[in-house]
């Protein structure tokens, strides 16, 4: 099996910064690290297994009805994830609210099924799905790290910046409230893209 299937989704073909897939439901969950990691894990599992199932079924599904079949398979996996989250970590499930359901329409999943799973054997498809989920999760965690650290001064809810530093305790520091706001997530992605493309010149658009 080609090693590139696993490594490409992390940098050269990252689903968020290069393929522009799956931005839809992800940016709103990056205010804090914990929901971002739960979201990344859920998406990784769903992409991996939907790729595997669709790859197993790929020769039996007529081309015309494949979208409906894909949606049913993905919806089933997402319902499983949603019920598991509700059972074992209800707080995070509340924080993610509708965004768990929106994994169904996350373009990464449909995109990878269409582009990879329908034309490849089950094992490479599983690897491709998991790697894409992880590449997506990597960006998600990076954004959440920046936003939580500068926006709330915490990581995983634990205070990192010493409390004496804050202005209200006689110090000099203040949290950057802008980081909590949704538009900052987009601007951070824009900056990540800028950094990545400065190093990988072949991605630059004219």
């Amino acid at each position: 099996m080609d090693k590139k299937i696993f490594t490409d989704p992390f940098f050269r073909k990252n689903p968020i910064t290069v393929l522009v897939l799956g931005i839809c439901s992800s940016l709103a969950v990056t205010v804090k690290l914990e929901p971002a990691i739960v979201m990344a894990l859920s998406v990784t599992l769903v992409t991996g297994f939907s790729n595997l199932i669709m790859s197993l079924l790929r020769n039996t599904i007529p081309n015309r009805i494949r979208i409906i079949v894909q949606l049913v398979v993905v919806a089933m996996l997402v319902i499983l994830v949603d019920q598991i989250l509700k059972a074992y970590s209800y707080q995070v499930s509340k924080q993610l609210s509708v965004f768990v359901g929106l994994i169904i329409t996350n373009c990464i999943i449909m995109g990878r099924i269409e582009a990879f799973a329908l034309g490849n054997k089950p094992l490479p498809s599983l690897v491709d799905g998991l790697a894409n989920g992880m590449g997506y999760g990597m960006i998600l965690v990076a954004i959440a790290f920046i936003r939580e650290f500068f926006g709330s001064g915490t990581l995983f809810g634990i205070q990192i910046i010493p409390l004496d530093w804050y202005v209200k305790n006689g110090g000099f520091y203040e949290n950057n409230g802008l980081m909590i706001l949704p538009p900052m997530a987009l601007i951070i992605v824009g900056l990540i893209i800028w950094i990545q493309r400065s190093y990988q010149k072949e991605l630059v658009e004219e």
Binding site: I68, C107, G190
Partner: protein, 205 residues
Amino acid sequence: MQDLLSLFVKSIFVENMIFAYFLGMCSYLAVSKTVKTATGLGIAVIFVLGVTLPINYLLNKYVLTPGSLAWLSSDFADLDLSFLSFIVFIAVVASITQLVEMVVEKFSPSLYNSLGIFLPLIAVNCAILGGSLFMQERGYETLSEAVVYALGSGIGWFLAIVSLAAIREKLKYSNVPKPLRGLGITFIMVGLMGIAFMSFMGIKL
């Protein structure tokens, strides 16, 4: 009546699908290169949202919420089907999208060609499913509320994509740093537009 009006304004500006929740980002970024195609996609989204959300509202009220099947027979009074809502909603969205695709292909082939792959992709546009899920989570009480919310968020999405397309058309003539061209600058611009839209958040309706 006043409630409906404030819900309408709120769903267009204060809780804009794009700038407050990032829903429908994929097609938003990909189809916003020219104003003409952006307008076409925007109208298609308003239409699909306006049709699917009321249907999903009725399904949610009479089939999915716990105990809602009581109208059928008293045996079903304590049945809870709410775990099925994702699959029901997405099935409705997918079939309505198929319908819209056939109608557009028949009556406006030029629009059909310019929308290309993105018309079927409305089925997986998060704004559509997101509208239904928000409707369920916030528990809108009447059908008219659901219709107004659907139209409002559709129009909000339409405004957002048309204004981004207009900015991108102008942007062709400016000197952006090379690695930032295309995707990067678009993200940053959407972020700035989002900050501008946040000024509506202070409005209490």
